[in-house]
């Protein structure tokens, strides 16, 4: 018996580890493709990049020097190799923006990253808690008035474009009711923890942006949770538990809940790109200098290196999030993952 358990555990470990490694390389592959895209897009830019950057006043010698210094006269593959080597070393190039001209991109975007990450993480926590609660009760009270009302409300909220929701929330909660300020004060510190500190010290400022992002997130999550609970309730083990005479609450929380929440983690990972897109809009509306607002500014200023670096960073975060979610689930419940696709 004991030996049997050990070997089963070893087997479990092996399978999960094997899966995790495979998943890791899959993630790496995705990043490779994305980095290729962020490398390639600027190369497709119309016109001679050196000319565009240096201006037509520049002499041909200056252009040649520029081209040579940045390795633009080297073969495509070599350029990509240099790009990747630089990336690995955290070198994202130099900014072309009017204000941050010539400054290293990493230095320019550094302070903006934690702000968005905290905003997105915060809203993720809220959306999970809220959608799990709502979805579960919907699942339990299936086809009740509550179920139908919530389904409708969530559907409408979920159809709301992020910018309309944030605007209307400002008009309603800020301008009419005067509950929350309509914008976030400019951060004064740049550390990794400072956005969190700001959130804690002035929660009212973050109420509306967090609400916007949360609402954006719960639409999908709640519907998923509801379906997941319904699916789980008809599973064999739940029926067995019920047949054994377990109380409905016990069945729900001990058996159904755990199994229903697991797949939610995957969905969370998949919702990240949408959430970052939402954060871009939200930051713009609430004047929060995060990666989204910087992206809009850099786009307006055609600061290509900064935009590309931001795109890459957001994507890396997304891919990492997905990967962690998948591996996490695999560890917690190999059954769910290992059989299925991906």
């Amino acid at each position: 018996m004991a030996q049997n358990q050990t070997s089963r555990f070893a087997c479990y470990c092996f399978v999960v580890l094997n899966y995790s490694i495979r998943r890791f390389f899959q993630g790496l592959l995705v990043l490779l493709v994305v980095s290729f895209v962020t490398f390639l897009l600027p190369a497709l830019m119309p016109g001679n990049i050196a000319r565009a950057l240096l201006g037509n006043h520049a002499t041909q010698a200056a252009v040649n020097q520029f081209v040579h210094e940045r390795g633009l006269d080297q073969p495509f593959v070599v350029q990509y190799w240099h790009y990747m080597v630089n990336l690995v070393h955290g070198n994202l190039g130099t900014s072309l923006g009017a204000v941050t001209l010539d400054q290293p991109v990493a230095q320019v975007i550094g302070p903006y990253i934690p702000r968005t990450l905290w905003l997105v993480s915060g809203s993720l926590v809220f959306s999970v808690v809220i959608s799990v609660l709502i979805g579960m009760f919907q699942g339990i009270k299936r086809n009740s008035l509550f179920d139908h009302t919530m389904t409708f409300i969530i559907f409408v909220l979920f159809s709301f474009p992020a910018f309309l929701f944030s605007m209307l929330s400002i008009i309603f909660f800020s301008l009419t009711l005067h509950w929350f300020p309509p914008s976030i004060d400019s951060p004064t510190a740049n550390g990794f923890w400072s956005p969190l500190q700001q959130m804690i010290s002035s929660p009212a400022q973050f109420a509306l942006p967090l609400m916007t992002l949360t609402v954006l997130g719960i639409g999908g999550l709640t519907r998923f949770m509801r379906g997941s609970i319904l699916d789980t309730m008809v599973q064999d083990y739940v029926r067995t538990a019920r047949a054994k005479g377990c109380s409905p609450n016990r069945v729900l929380f001990r058996h159904a809940f755990r199994n229903a929440v697991m797949p939610l983690i995957t969905i969370l990972g998949l919702s990240l790109p949408g959430l970052f897109g939402g954060a871009l809009i939200t930051e713009q509306v609430f004047n929060y200098p995060g990666m989204g607002q910087l992206t809009v500014q850099a786009t307006n200023g055609r600061d290509v290196p900064v935009v590309m670096a931001l795109t890459l960073i957001v994507t890396v975060t997304t891919v990492l999030g997905n990967m962690l979610a998948d591996i996490g689930i695999a560890f917690a419940d190999p059954r769910i993952r290992l059989s299925g696709r991906r």
Partner: protein
């Protein structure tokens, strides 16, 4: 000489304190803002916003094109490093004797010798600001002219100066020709920034590419440096002041290349310590011993590349007007909306608002009222701008069928389609002034007397003009039917099509272009509008395939017909003479406008004994000949806290004098 491209000169415009964003503010998603709490900036502090999306990024007061911005010069460097002659105080745009480092120059020898008597003020390290300090700058200017964006090839300092001598507090410049003292004072003498001897350290360029390695950049002190070298002997200047190799010079507005190997001498040393490409150099602005030696009323306390900048008073400042505040902070702004929210929360002493947030200007130069209740503690102010806004034509268009801008009647017809009076009234909310020529009419000045608008809004006159020159305006776009009348390069059947490229980011500018294009369309023009960021406009709408502009001569590349970068702010070239804009081959004449009569008139303007006036001479000719398409100039408006005392009227030249303020 500086191009401005702020169409809505909102942020801080017309305030004694506050920077003007030189780049167009990105259109913001302005959200309604309600202050949750209103407090005030403490009594011993002054807090003002930087221009939206602008931030000081170059401390060395000798900047190349990319860093030659109002933000860097007027709202950063000028607080610490004072020019020889200070121009502008409130609405006044003349040289201010009490703020200058020397008595007004004396011209002798038939306006060929300029003598400057230094006041003997002190740098913060105790060093006297004497003639050698000024000569240090002049020597560097002579050695590395192309790295200073104020350089005008062929004119003034250094090209028309043959000798500079410094003896104690007396600086003497000898010019090669007799000069117009006003022109020489306002366009050249005002640009001299005396440098301390503490900066006169030589930077030796290493041979290897590893020039950015700090270990190899140890500067060498030298007995006879840039400040004492002989102005007329180029080789000594190259050794001590620096040399920018001919292979890469002259590169106007060229972003600093990463390779430091091209920088040598004192210039290289100072540039190296200022260059934004190095995070370390930027971060050290407030701590670097070089930059701690200041001549102005303020010195840096803290500097952040993207965040706030804090100054403290320079207690050793020699001027009469000492700084009042314990700290003076410039807050970095990411959007107009943030700035408005901070104003409403009482976190700023000055700031900009959107024109839609205030009532229309009842009269030129008079501000309306705030529509936002939260701004009750502030007073709205407006003032003139020593600038004119224009689009430029490509006179050297190479593509076929685009000889149109060469024809005066076409330019006249286009100008007839610009309803400047109503644009100012409706679109600018009254905060603007029509522009008819290169000399601004507001602020009221000595040069604008007798000004007449040659081409008031009149599309019918434009159509008549086109018809008289052989165009059939009954079809759209209008077509040339009588080539003999249409002019050179225009064939029968050619259509009245033009491209117009302008700077993106300003909804007001977009609206203005839409309005003007509609009027031109009704006249038979087909205008293809396109936008790009302003720096791209400056780059795209200029010269051709990279021929070396050794004589400052640029070539049109033929792919554009009309471009609008923005406007021209007469600062720090304050004298509105046209040598930079209208002279054949001038640096800022990207459309290759060339007219022998214009050149003669400008020569007369800058020579001794000239009298500048809008009603005659080059200015009158420029109004008549329309080398540029004249556009209205926005005057903008801004808020000043009612708690501030000593507030000066808005400055038309963006000069900023926070030391006059108190609470």
């Amino acid at each position: 000489m500086r191009k401005v491209n702020t169409f809505r000169r909102l942020v801080g415009t017309g305030l004694t304190v506050g920077a003007i964003a030189i780049s167009l503010a990105a259109s913001t998603v302005a959200t309604a803002a309600v202050a949750s709490h209103v407090d005030h900036v403490p009594k011993d502090q002054l807090v003002v916003p930087m221009g939206t999306n602008s931030h000081a990024n170059f401390i060395f007061p000798y900047a190349s094109g990319a860093y030659f911005t109002t933000t860097n010069m007027n709202a950063f460097q000028a607080y610490m490093y004072r020019p020889l002659y200070w121009v502008g105080k409130g609405a006044d745009i003349t040289i201010q004797a009490d703020l200058s480092l020397a008595a007004l120059p004396v011209y002798s020898n038939g306006n060929k010798t300029v003598t400057v008597n230094m006041k003997g003020w002190k740098f913060s390290n105790g060093e006297t600001i004497d003639a050698q300090s000024a000569k240090f700058f002049l020597n560097m200017y002579q050695a590395v002219s192309y790295r200073y964006a104020g350089y005008v090839p062929g004119f003034g300092i250094p090209d028309q100066v043959s000798q500079v001598t410094a003896s104690g507090n007396v600086l003497t410049l000898t010019t090669t020709v007799a000069v117009n003292p006003n022109w020489f004072n306002y366009n050249f003498m005002t640009e001299i920034t005396p440098f301390p001897r503490a900066w006169d350290i030589k930077y030796v360029t290493p041979n290897s590419k590893a020039a950015s390695d700090d270990a190899q950049t140890t500067p060498q002190t030298e007995a006879a440096g840039c400040g004492t070298a002989n102005f007329a002997v180029m080789s000594s200047l190259i050794n001590t002041c620096g040399y920018y190799p001919a292979s890469t010079a002259p590169a106007y507005g060229l972003p600093a290349l990463n390779s430091l190997s091209v920088y040598t001498g004192a210039y290289g040393y100072l540039y190296y310590n200022s260059r934004p490409a190095s995070a370390a150099a930027l971060a050290a602005y407030a701590t670097n011993p070089i930059w701690k030696v200041v001549s102005g009323p303020w010195k840096l306390k803290t500097f952040s590349a993207t965040g706030d900048i804090v100054y403290v008073p320079n207690t050793a400042y020699s001027g009469a007007q000492k700084a009042h505040f314990a700290t003076f902070t410039q807050v970095a702004e990411t959007s107009t909306a943030t700035e408005i929210a901070q104003l409403e929360a009482g976190q700023l002493d000055t700031g900009g608002v959107l024109p839609s947030d205030v009532t229309p200007s009842p009269k030129l130069g008079v501000a309306g009222k705030n529509l936002l209740k939260q701004l009750d503690g502030y007073t709205l102010r407006t003032g003139g701008t020593w600038a004119f806004y224009y689009a430029y034509y490509n006179f050297n268009s190479k593509s076929s069928g685009t000889a149109l801008p060469n024809q005066l009647y076409i330019r006249q017809a286009l100008q007839y389609g610009v309803d400047q009076v109503n644009l100012v009234k409706k679109l600018y909310n009254g905060y603007g002034v029509p522009g008819y020529g290169p000399i601004p009419t507001f602020p009221v000045n000595a040069f604008s007397g007798g000004l007449v608008n040659h081409y008031p809004f009149n599309p019918k006159a434009g159509i008549a003009l086109l018809q008289a020159h052989g165009w059939n305006t009954n079809v759209y776009p209008a077509a040339c039917v009588t080539p003999a009348k249409c002019g050179a390069g225009i064939a029968k059947g050619d259509l009245l099509k033009l491209t117009y490229k302008y700077g993106s980011g300003s909804p007001t500018q977009d609206a203005q272009m839409a309005i003007e294009t509609s009027a031109w369309t009704s006249m038979g023009f087909k205008i293809d509008l396109s936008t790009d960021i302003s720096t791209n406009i400056a780059n795209l709408c200029t010269s051709g395939a990279g021929s070396a502009p050794t004589s400052g001569n640029l070539q049109g590349n033929g792919d554009w017909q009309i471009c609008q970068y923005g406007g021209w702010l007469y600062a720090p070239d304050y004298y509105p003479s046209g040598e930079l804009l209208f002279y054949t081959g001038a640096l800022s004449n990207p459309g290759m406008y060339s007219d022998a009569k214009m050149d003669t008139l400008i020569d007369a303007t800058v020579s001794a004994g000239a009298k500048l006036n809008a009603a005659n001479g080059y200015a009158q000719y420029a109004m008549d000949q329309l080398p540029y398409l004249y556009q209205p100039t926005g005057t903008g408006c801004g808020e000043v806290s009612n708690t501030l005392k000593g507030v000066l009227p808005p400055s038309p030249t963006d000069s900023s004098l926070p030391e006059f303020l108190s609470k």
